[in-house]
Amino acid sequence: MASANRPRHGGDCAPDGHAMSPVTAKASTPPVTESAPPAPPRRGPGWAPILTIAVMLGPVLAGIAGTAAPAFGWLPALGGDGLSLRPWAELFATPGLGISVRLSLVTGLVATALSLAITLLIVAAFQGTRTFALIERLLSPLLSVPHAAAAFGLAFLIAPSGWIARAFSPWATGWERPPDLLIVSDPAGLSLIAGLVAKEVPFLLLMTLAALGQARAREARLTALTLGYGPLASWAKAVLPAVYPQIRLPVFAVLAYSMSVVDVAQILGPTTPPPLSVQLVEWMRDPDLALRFRAAAGALLQIGLVVAALGLWRLGEIAAARLGRAWTVAGTRHARDHALRIAAGGAAVTITLAVALGLAGLAVWSMAGLWRFPDALPGTLTDRIWQREAAQIAPPALTTAVIAITAALIALVLAVACLQTEFRRGTRPGAGGQWLLYLPLIVPQTGFLFGLQIAASSAGIPPGLAAVIAAHLVFVLPYVFLSLAGPWRAWDQRQALAAASLGASPARVLLAVRLPMMLAPLATALAVGMAVSIGQYLPTLLIGAGRVATLTTEAVALAAGGDRRLIGAWGLVQALAPLPGFALALILPALVWRRRRGMTAAR
């Protein structure tokens, strides 16, 4: 900045510092010291951002490389020592591949469009109301439920023997026994889409809320309201254009995730053939090692599909923006929008209820004795499953905790170091930084984790706990950073100035003032990181080479078996696993600062 300005503004000052300012001229000859600001920002990005980017993106790049090589026939360990297109020929010869690809594309695009539409409708309808405050409060618990647990819960709820069917039977449906309907795992992927929407709406809501503050949304909406626009139209025409660019990357992440998710698809998705991602994992884990080449080619295809879908989405954005501008300049007020606002409320309630009832269903099934159709509750309750499974659950629960705590703590230290570097240099990462942060969430997991496994084994890194933690870190870091960055940057910097003017060094300001004041956001970021780690399925499965068992891998493995009571128990434990972290994040700051009104009022 300064160097760019120099020729323009500093023309009156000699570059060697012997400037003749009006003052110095007056005071005969000047004592000349031209000074840069003290503690000037150092050059280069510093160790923290470089290390963080290496930890986050190194595995992604290594993974893509490790996928690309075998996709073209090169994998010496398995006898592939020349370039060939055979993996691709085999891939395209797979029966049902077209359906797998179509499922991946359609479920991804539809789930993303629906999630975004519902999110925007909810925010537009309720921003600034008491309902909105309630929705905000429900968000964190909804977000913290791992995808797999929510998917199990939804599967139980909508299954032919689930609570929905029971509630309408036999009086409305005439069913005396569970009907033979393929609701879960329907061939069109509708239940998969529903499961994705239930989990992605809370995520997009949270990201939209964060964007609202920066977009001066309240003022813009109020202005439109006073001009006679209906509440929904006010939001859509005056606020959305400023908000959407800020939630674009989260939307991209949702699209990539929905297209390539494995665990949710194994629980709710079609099976013959399954979506591409599930098919890929089956090949990657097949005892027939020759299938790995085909899996690698398929993984590259998956990356290509996501890139194509992102491009398609971008075109859709441009078209929507054009239509939106025309709609805006037309000046239509849409003052009566009751029906849509009720629909928005209905969507919010449906999603919350679906997840909550789903989890309740897991709990009831885990304790169900005999449960006749269409009784709403089991005739008898028993703790037989819990008695039997407690000893089985404990070891993977411990492994889950060790991985989650370690990964989240490492991520937290790196995030603080990055944010502190940014603070001390007075710089903010630009759009490029945001892209780097979202890259691990946008490159499909199936696309690079398989290659990462190959790259790790050729580099002699043994599969195990440490490797799994490193793989989790790739996904934990972005969320920890995103969670912490807002509060960290919003901190009142006069606190630092006050401390420095009392003689406190930068290190002391950080340790004695900033970190204690940031206790609540730090604890929340840690809980978010742990929740992300707890929910990881594919990284644990592939990088752990099946040897690292966590609550998530064990629970998802039960999906195929179909034992409701067993799934209920494991799914419930998985769903509850993130809660202690969030409870601690809530209780710890309140307890530590219970005598400090200034600390509680700030939150």
């Binding site: 300005n5 003052v23 007056k26 600001p37 150092r42 003689g503 009104r597």
Partner: protein, 244 residues
């Protein structure tokens, strides 16, 4: 990028010999007080600060002017928090020590801001202890010094209190005592009275100036309130050095 100005500045260079030696502002190194020697700050082509002053121990120099006139730039220059886009020339010396290029925490310049900025996570006593110079050692000695400061400020027995439970006037006094306990060489007042209500205002103002004099601190007051300036008693100037 941002520190290009540093390239041409380097560490503070020794004063050039020759005519400079006769400069009225070129005080001997041991002269007490705060010296602003041919101090100027520019942003682009705009000259925001141009001062050549000496503030003696116990003296108050008041800088007045409308917002945007360079008052906060002057304070940032003295505390060492100028943004990189600003260009500073001249020198700032405190008790003979050149502090122009020192980081904020090593300048020995105490600062009172518009808000008291007490640390909300620390008790009143811990806020004072944060400021209290480390040269005072031992728990008992430090506690005694803090209790003394509290009683000087008419806040006896409030060490254990949560700062959020204090009145505005009490908080101001705590903030001032915290600054004084850090044994600064000079005191900067950045409109510290503007948020107090009218009857407290005169009282806190008188207390602050009395303490500054008692500690023998060269004091620079930035304000847009004529009553503040009148009460301070010293010379009143604009950020570009014109007397008012």
């Amino acid at each position: 990028m941002k520190d290009a100005a540093k390239d041409e500045a380097g560490p503070p260079v020794p004063r050039p010999s020759g005519p400079a030696a006769e400069s009225p502002s070129a005080a001997p190194a041991e002269t007490p007080g705060l010296h602003l020697e041919a101090l100027s700050v520019r942003l682009g082509d705009e000259l925001l600060v141009a001062l050549d002053r000496h503030i003696a121990p116990g003296e108050v120099l008041t800088v007045m002017g409308p917002s945007g006139s360079g008052k906060s730039t002057l304070l940032a220059a003295i505390t060492g928090t100028l943004a990189p886009a600003f260009r500073l020339t001249g020198r700032i010396r405190l008790a003979g020590r050149d502090i122009t290029a020192l980081p904020t925490h090593r300048r020995g310049v105490g600062l009172m801001m518009q808000d008291d900025v007490l640390f909300p996570h620390l008790s009143v006593g811990a806020n004072l202890a944060f400021g209290l110079a480390p040269s005072i050692r031992g728990r008992a000695a430090r506690c005694a010094r803090i209790d003394q400061a509290l009683s000087d400020a008419g806040l006896e027995g409030m060490a254990a209190r949560d700062p959020a439970t204090l009145s505005g006037g009490q908080r101001s006094r705590v903030a001032l005592m915290r600054t004084l306990l850090s044994e600064p060489g000079a005191l900067l007042l950045d409109e510290p009275f503007s948020k107090l209500d009218a009857d407290r205002r005169a009282q806190i103002r008188a207390f602050t100036f009395a303490q500054a004099r008692a500690y023998g601190l060269p004091t620079l007051l930035v304000t847009h309130d004529a009553a503040d300036a009148a009460d301070a008693g010293g010379p009143v100037i604009t950020p570009d050095g014109r007397p008012l």
